[in-house]
């Protein structure tokens, strides 16, 4: 699919492979609808951050933009802090 959309190269594949983790954590690791929703949200987030955030980052002194590569990981961190099981994942209950 990636190859069909944007052509095949190794770096692109690695970037996609890494962006999968935020998507799947956002949706919840054990949930199929979550994976779909997470993928869509992360994809939209990437495009929106290219459009809106790159200009902001260059204003505060970070050059070159490319925030679409880092925003998914920021979302991943925030999710892990506040809702580690994702939007639709089941919460694990642990015993000693």
């Amino acid at each position: 699919m990636v190859g069909a959309v944007s052509g095949l190269n190794q770096d692109g594949l690695i970037a996609i492979g890494l962006a999968v983790f935020p998507a799947v954590i956002l949706g919840g690791l054990d949930s199929v609808p979550g994976a779909v929703v997470g993928g869509i949200v992360i994809g939209i987030l990437q495009s929106f951050s290219t459009a809106y955030l790159d200009g902001f980052f260059s204003q505060i002194g970070l050059v070159g933009g490319g925030s679409q590569y880092v925003m998914p990981f920021v979302v991943l961190l925030v999710m892990l802090w506040f809702k580690p099981h994702g939007l639709f994942g089941t919460e694990e209950i642990e015993r000693v």
Binding site: V70, V74, L76, W81, P84, V96
Partner: protein
């Protein structure tokens, strides 16, 4: 003890003996001999060979840190290279105004602070989730450094040190000088490692690794222990990164990417998690593997016989390095999960019990 040199095993009758740094007389002697050997080793080596040794020792420091987070506390971290990067960039920014014996600990402390923050998710999540949190930190670090004008957008920042106490450091003696500095730092760090982990804190780390809820019930604070493990591991990484910056005379972001983090984790696994010997054997094994495989692929590129066997358009030679790395990691995980340290242990016990089998 009556005849310490004739001791055949470890008879532990008290807690002090159990936590001793050197279990017996023979270990003390062998460590001293090893240190003397390492001190005179550069006299027989060329400049490029000392460089390889330097890299091995620097990675050994970083892997020691990883062995606290991953080996002792069981928190899988794929961000160790980023912690090295934090240390290296701290050194690069403070080197013009401070001497190196201040910048390197400063790099370690900065990395420890960042490690503390990165460790915060470990209060709630573990295993895969935690690995993903460190992965996120690794990616964010590379991105921030690569975009900051203050850090040359990840391009080389020179780190110069021309003389030390009147000794002029030139192109010729640079590697030798830093070899001794790195060796000294490594010895200090190993002593600190043993000293820290043999007592209360080390046991708390092991208890939290094995079952953090049980550790909580026994009166330890798993959250604080995990954060301490992260901060300590990051401190070791930061110190290693600072040394790397001085030794390479420059800092580049390519040194501190996800790939390097994975290689550091591989070094820790190949060496044997949670052991000092393993944290030195692991980097040595991986570095020598890299050097010899690179040599082999050079030879394969030049040899016409190999060229005629392999299909046209398939570059076997440059695929050899990633292939051998992956193969070594998988083989170690399958056949020797305890790593090279286990071989070392078996070898030592063979010689100790000789001529008896056990």
């Amino acid at each position: 003890m009556r005849n310490p040199w004739a001791q055949t095993g470890n008879y532990r009758t008290s807690y002090e003996q159990d936590t001793a740094i050197f279990a017996n007389y023979r270990e003390t002697v062998s460590v001293v001999l090893l240190l003397v050997a390492l001190c005179i080793l550069p006299m027989f080596l060329e400049r490029s060979q000392v460089l390889v040794l330097n890299f091995i020792l620097i990675y050994a420091i970083a892997v020691l840190g990883l062995n606290i987070t991953t080996g002792y506390a069981g928190l899988i971290s794929v961000g160790q290279a980023a912690f090295m990067g934090v240390g290296a960039y701290t050194v690069a920014l403070s080197a013009p105004s401070l001497p190196f014996w201040l910048t390197i600990p400063l790099g370690g402390l900065t990395a420890a602070m960042i490690g503390f923050i990165v460790g915060i998710p470990s209060l709630r999540v573990k295993h895969l989730y935690l690995a993903l949190a460190t992965l996120a930190f690794q990616e964010i670090f590379v991105w921030v450094v690569g975009r900051s004008p203050a850090l040359a957008q990840g391009a080389a920042i020179p780190v110069e040190m021309r003389n030390f106490l009147g000794l002029e450091i030139t192109f010729r003696n640079h590697n030798y000088f830093w070899y001794y500095i790195i060796l000294f730092v490594l010895v200090v760090m190993v002593m600190a490692w043993r000293n820290l982990l043999r007592g209360k804190y080390g046991r708390a780390l092991i208890a939290v690794r094995d079952n953090d809820r049980a550790a909580d019930a026994m009166g330890m604070d798993p959250g604080r222990t995990k954060l301490m493990a992260f901060a300590l591991g990051a401190f070791y990484g930061g110190v290693a990164g600072g040394l790397l910056a001085y030794m390479q005379r420059a800092v580049v972001v390519e040194e501190f990417t996800l790939g390097r983090s994975v290689v550091l984790l591989a070094m820790a696994i190949v060496g044997g998690l949670g052991t000092v010997v393993g944290s030195i054997l692991g980097p040595a094994f991986i570095e020598f593997l890299r050097i010899y495989v690179e040599r082999l692929s050079e030879w394969m590129k030049s040899s016409t016989l190999i060229q005629s066997i392999t299909p046209a358009g398939v570059d076997v030679a440059s695929a050899l390095l990633p292939l051998s790395f992956g193969l070594v990691i998988v083989l170690f995980l399958v056949f020797e999960p305890r790593g090279l340290y286990n071989w070392w242990r078996l070898l030592r016990s063979y010689f100790r019990n000789w001529p008896f089998r056990y």
